[in-house]
């Protein structure tokens, strides 16, 4: 039987980084991943809980110099309706609005979703498509050091990230999407609502003269980590979105993902729905161009 001996609630980032380096510490944000594990006994309760919900520096979304910054401890409920996010990164708003249910979203944080590092984390995929960078803080003798890690390098395996003990995720940053950019995100499960994704896809496309000039594709739940779709991107960059090109792109997607068969879906089905979601998004992009 493990029991938590102390519960600490710092109010500043420097206090937090100092505490986070101590042995036996677990950082607690919304607790929607941690608490069920503790209750069920699938994870031991930590000796020291450091609750980060009282640190204002970690909360809220801001927009400056064409860049959006969202604090790690920002609640997911709110990101979906945040005007900045909706205007400049609508696919993230879409994903945030489909995490779990309102009750869970009301506690769950963006940072928690990323640090938990589930291959199914709904917000990871749009952030891959947005080319986001993560600010990670560590305590140093003369204060706090912050380093930047691209979101594509953040995940190292199911439940694993580049974070070392003592590291804290501070914020997520990405460039606002230019006006004409096409973006989309969707996830797929056995039922439409309240569902851990069986597969998810996010896409950001820049188009000029009927051609795709730049593309970012991300996938969820189809590899050990949320994945960037390098081959799918290559299949459409500098191309017009003809049926053939779209077919080549979805074929590339099928091949570059490495889904598993589990109780939620088979490997084959995951490949099928990734291809369908991607095809529909690209068809919508083409349609949007034509109008």
């Amino acid at each position: 039987m493990s029991a938590t001996k102390s519960y600490l609630a710092p109010t500043t980032l420097s206090e937090l980084t100092r505490l986070a380096g101590e042995p036996g510490v677990t950082v607690l944000a919304g607790g929607t991943d941690l608490q069920p594990r503790w209750s069920k006994g699938t994870a031991d309760r930590p000796e020291i809980v450091v609750d980060i919900k009282g640190i204002n520096e970690l909360k809220g979304a801001t927009f400056a110099n064409g860049e959006i910054r969202i604090g790690a401890c920002t609640r997911i409920n709110g990101i979906d309706v945040n005007v900045i996010v909706r205007e400049h990164a609508p696919l993230l708003a879409e994903a945030a609005g489909r995490v779990a249910c309102p009750q869970i979203r009301n506690r769950a944080t963006l940072g928690g979703n990323l640090c938990n590092a589930s291959p199914a984390a709904d917000t990871a995929v749009p952030l891959i498509a947005l080319d986001a960078v993560l600010d990670i803080a560590t305590s140093a003798p003369n204060g706090t050091i912050i380093r930047q890690v691209p979101v594509t390098e953040f995940f190292t395996g199911p439940g694993a990230t580049v974070l070392s003990p003592g590291d804290v995720l501070v914020a997520v940053r990405f460039k606002a999407l230019p006006k004409e950019t096409f973006s989309a995100w969707n996830k797929f499960g056995t039922r439409p609502s309240m569902e851990i994704a069986v597969a998810s896809v996010g896409v950001v496309l820049r188009m000029a003269d009927g051609k795709v000039t730049a593309a970012r594709v991300g996938y969820g739940s189809v590899a050990p980590v949320p994945l960037r779709g390098v081959d799918a991107e290559a299949a459409i960059v500098n191309q017009t979105l003809s049926d053939d090109v779209i077919a080549r792109c979805t074929e590339a997607a099928r091949n570059e993902i490495s889904p598993i068969t589990d109780m939620r879906a088979s490997e084959r089905y995951r490949r099928d729905v990734v291809a369908v979601m991607l095809r529909r998004m690209l068809e919508n992009a083409r349609h949007a161009r034509n109008n």
Binding site: G41, C101, F188, T190, M194, R264, Y269
Partner: protein, 781 residues
């Protein structure tokens, strides 16, 4: 057979129907709703008795194994642990419908949920930790994870006394199927697979066992059959039933899951006995998924035929049922499925054989519909197949074969009132069938989103089911000198709203406001006998019993009033708390005044009445024939769906339902019952499946056991067909199980209508649907 209709009862009915202040058919909020909505309800988990301990069970977690050794020493020495028991510590009595279960297991385990040991401790945390410290040595045996494996040559024997792993077989026949085959112009044959569904009661299982110093046992139990429970449990724990009192705290749903005595219940009694302290045991959600029985998965081979004009000729049914490692009452669910195959629409020749098969899966039990959802999925899917073959509209073929009131089915079920045709016509009309259901789609390349419509009907008992020696229910009623009425009914409330209906009936008869009626229905020391909440029987049977007890009180009250007011009793009536003039409705005296006149006047009498109502039904004969229920309920569901043929997602856009309910008593209650049933039926149809691999449950959480959420609920249009069943209270029939039964077939038929592909397996998950569509496309070439 024509049932005798009580003439005065009919007159009484018409009189009440016309009365303005009648409560019957009104929208009455459930009596327990305010407490539930405000959080005042005290569930089992909220009850804490002085010195109470917490019980916990160690489950085997091995599907099939010999128990070599159980070492409890490390658990026993833990601080706060008050008792640790295994099969060696108690007298073991076999129980269950197949006499193949014991509270704690000795020798071997036959499914993962088998109970190995139990602990009572000061806190549930200590009990949980103590359980972990019990070391069990097993010798694993080959696991039988499916019906096929169980029936294979040389399959291991699960219970020694059943060498072929088939503990029960049922056979039924009427007419001559060979003759039916000869009479047929078209014949369709298919195999249907239906899955394991969990009840998912909001409240998980639990019990408190509490011995008095006189040795009497009080159980706070969630059973839905308190009287037979006392009887069955008493044999297992060796305490005479008259020394057992069962109190039911508010029950967070039953759906059939609480129809049997479950091993945890005697185990909790053993722990209370071992410690001489009250012990409470409640299941976590995961335990609920792992260690409570489920709806039985079945394989149904069905062959049926029709003449050119659509007349049904025969049905030939072979049903196998995955029973799991022990047997509960659930093994008898085929009895109800037989009634569907024999009696849903007119059919002259029927033959059914059922094998109940042991496996090492967690075992199955009763579940709303009791074998009928499985049967109806197969039968109503195949009726569409026959219609296809004949090029007939699915509505026409059903209307052609639908029975009329007064018919007797091949199994001897007397359909005194039968609203099947009205249900078919109403549900399709409300759904816009003529416009929305076009000929079945013929597809080449299946892609994009398509729409379709399908239907299915329901046949179910509506006036109880005579399976025990009695299908009755008792009521006692007392009126106090202020016009307050306490009704003691044997019928349990498990959330279905029966206490509200009973209160309505009594208030109606006694001309009192609903507020004056209190229902006592949860304590066997106070309440008279009832067979239990099941078979959609409570409104019909307990309702009739309450009605008759109230009528006796009414007569006594009117007689007293006649005497006190010097009027003829026939000229008096009761209304709005008063004795009134029957013809003018003019109030003559407040009811309490008349009662006080009775108490304190010359008579010195009380108004206390009782009634035992036994429905006019007969137990099935040796051939399983006979009029098992006092009446039958019917219904039709029409589903409109949208199928995404690229992903396999089936979206149900609307369900139009029409139910022959005899007569609506509580409009709000019955709407809730129907809508809830449709939701549960949609889960069964689309998403719900407790998945097992080699005897192990792989999705024992709500994350991966997928209920339908409010987001997926379609528009529901519910119509009530009132056939005024003469045997029912005010004409009502039971309807509790019905709304779940036809949903899957209606949706599967709609999917076929949309895509041209028939899917004979549940649930219709996106992946299964997509696979079937792809197979069909491949087969088309």
């Amino acid at each position: 057979m024509i049932r005798s209709v009580d003439d005065t009862a009919v007159k009484e009915q018409t009189r009440r129907k016309t009365r303005k202040d009648s409560l019957i058919g009104k929208r009455v909020p459930k009596l327990d709703a305010p407490d539930k909505a405000t959080g005042k309800t005290r569930y089992l988990d909220d009850i804490k008795l002085p010195r109470m301990l917490y019980g916990k069970i160690l489950f085997a977690d091995r599907p099939h194994a010999r128990i070599v050794k159980i070492d409890t020493s490390a658990a026993k020495v833990m601080k706060g642990v008050r008792a640790v028991i295994t099969a060696d510590d108690v007298e073991l009595v076999t129980f269950g419908f197949g006499s193949d279960n014991t509270a704690l297991k000795k020798g071997k385990v036959t499914c993962i949920r088998d109970e190995i040991a139990a602990v009572a401790a000061d806190t549930s945390e200590i009990a949980t930790e103590a359980i972990k410290r019990i070391a069990v040595t097993y010798e694993d045996l080959p696991v039988i994870g499916s019906i096929e494996e169980s029936l294979a040559d040389g399959a291991p024997v699960i219970h020694e006394h059943i060498a072929d792993n088939v503990p029960f077989r049922f056979d039924y026949a009427h007419g001559d199927v060979d003759q039916g085959i000869l009479e047929s112009d078209v014949i369709v044959e298919d195999t249907y697979h239906v899955q394991r569904q969990a009840h998912c009661c909001l409240g998980t299982s639990g019990i408190i066992a509490d011995f008095g110093s006189d040795g009497r046992l009080t159980l706070h139990s969630l059973t839905q059959v308190p009287f037979s429970y006392k009887h069955d449990l008493s044999k297992i724990i060796r305490i005479p039933p008259e020394r057992i009192r069962v109190i039911q705290p508010p029950i967070g749903g039953g759906f059939g899951s609480k129809l049997d005595v479950h091993p945890f219940e005697p185990i909790c009694v053993f722990l209370a006995r071992a410690t001489s302290r009250p012990v409470r045991m409640t299941f976590s959600r995961e335990e609920e998924f792992l260690a409570t029985p489920t709806r039985q998965p079945m394989v149904i081979k069905l062959k049926s035929g029709a003449k050119k004009d659509g007349t049904f000729t025969f049905r030939d049914v072979l049903m196998t049922l995955d029973n799991g490692g022990h047997t509960s009452w659930g093994a008898t669910t085929p009895w109800i499925s037989i009634r569907t195959f024999s009696s849903l629409y007119r059919v002259p020749h029927v033959r059914q054989h059922v094998d109940v098969i042991y496996t090492n899966n967690i075992y199955a039990c009763a579940f709303r519909g009791y074998g009928n959802p499985q049967a109806t999925f197969a039968l109503e899917s195949q009726i569409d197949g026959l219609a296809d073959e004949l090029g007939m509209d699915p509505l026409d073929i059903r209307l052609k074969n639908a029975q009329e009131s007064g018919e007797t089915t091949g199994q001897g079920l007397v359909l005194g009132t039968c609203g099947l045709k009205e249900c078919l016509e109403t549900a399709t009309r409300n759904a816009g069938w003529d416009v929305k259901h076009s000929a079945p789609a013929k597809h080449g390349k299946r892609t994009g989103v398509v729409r379709g419509m399908g239907m299915a009907s329901i046949f179910h008992v509506g006036g109880g089911a005579k399976i025990y020696r009695s299908d009755g229910c008792g009521t006692m009623l007392k009126m106090d000198d202020f016009g307050g009425v306490v009704v003691f009914t044997g019928a349990s409330e498990i959330g279905q709203g029966s206490e509200t209906v009973i209160a309505q009936i009594v208030a109606e008869e006694l001309g009192l406001p609903l507020d004056n009626i209190r229902i006592v229905n949860n304590d066997t020391d106070l309440t008279p006998w009832d067979v239990g909440v099941h078979a959609s029987r409570t409104t019909f049977i307990a309702g009739n019993s309450a009605l008759r007890a109230a009528r006796k009180a009414r007569e006594k009250l009117l007689a007293a009033a006649a005497e006190q007011l010097k009027r003829d009793a026939d000229d008096l009536d009761l209304s709005a708390g008063n004795v009134v003039d029957r013809s003018t409705c003019e109030p003559l005296a407040p009811i309490p005044k008349i009662i006080r006149g009775l108490h304190f006047g010359k008579k010195n009498d009380l108004i206390m009445t009782s009634d035992y109502y036994e429905p006019p039904s007969t137990a099935p004969d040796k051939e399983d024939k006979g009029d098992i229920s006092a009446c039958y309920s019917f219904g039709t569901h029409v589903a409109e769906v949208e199928v995404d043929q690229d992903t396999g997602v089936v979206k149900v856009l609307g369900i139009s339902a029409a139910h022959d309910v005899g007569r609506v008593i509580n409009q709000m209650g019955i709407e809730g019952q129907i809508e809830g049933g449709i939701a549960q039926g949609l889960g069964y149809c689309l998403t719900e499946e407790l998945k097992l691999r080699d005897g192990r449950v792989i999705n024992p959480t709500f994350t991966d056991y997928k209920l339908i959420t409010t987001q997926e609920l379609p528009e529901m249009n519910v119509a009530f067909i009132e056939t005024n069943e003469p045997a029912g209270p005010y004409g009502a029939k039971g309807v509790a199980e019905s709304p779940l039964i036809a949903v899957s077939a209606a949706v599967a038929n709609a999917v076929h209508n949309a895509t041209g592909v028939r899917i004979n397996e549940l649930p219709l998950t996106p992946e299964r649907v997509l696979r079937k569509l792809q197979e069909a496309t491949d087969a088309d070439g």
